[in-house]
Amino acid sequence: MNEKRKLLNKIRQYDFTLKELNLYLDTHPNCPRALAMFRKYKQLRMNAVNEYVSRYGPLMPEQNNDADHWDWIDDPWPWERS
């Protein structure tokens, strides 16, 4: 598995953890353990996304970081086999 896909999978794993905690917190809004876990994984996700964006390009349009080229539209798009 190449480095790009490995890093994207890491972001997906953090996103999955955060989504699970998000839904759990919707029905348990005062659970201190879930709130602490959410803070922890939010930070891990932020670090992984920053690394991904600087190396491979944006996951969201505002993360464009090439002054001469709008890299948001670069292939592949998510539904394309990678």
Partner: protein
Amino acid sequence: MWQYEKKLQYPVNIKNPNPKLAKVIITQLGGPDGELAASLRYLNQRFAMPYAEVKGLLTDIGTEELAHVEMISAILYQLTKGLSIEEIKASGFDEYFVDHTTGIYPVAASGEPFTAAYFQSKGDIITDLHENMAAEQKARTTYDNILRLADDPDVRDPIRFLRQREIVHYQRFGEGNRTDSNILTSYH
């Protein structure tokens, strides 16, 4: 509002096209218990919800369902990519192909186009939460049936992920239902 992230919630990488399987899996895009109906069900229902917990649940699960619409569409796209006319005829995919080529269009496996009649928004918290719990189980059964029909591990893997999400959503809606029952009983 919504913002798009340029990635799938769970990866889809299918090596072998299989139009016959696409004809079945498309029901989770445009069929009676599919992801599009799920997303529209929750995102419409939330406006009538009195309690913050349930407004949050419907917003967040309705949003996740949009990511599932994208995953199912990616599965369909990859299962129907690069087909020859012979493969299209032999698989029975010609019935879809004649109207849509290999474009993604929401229909049930039977060919019926998507309709809002697949879901309800009743303006009643108890009624809507029970509809949602049933909807999650119906979608789970559909995924079980797809797993009975699909051999390809590249297809089974993302389908198993989607099946598992139905169970988690059922669980959370059940908790929302308990919360609202507790609040309602406390008035008596």
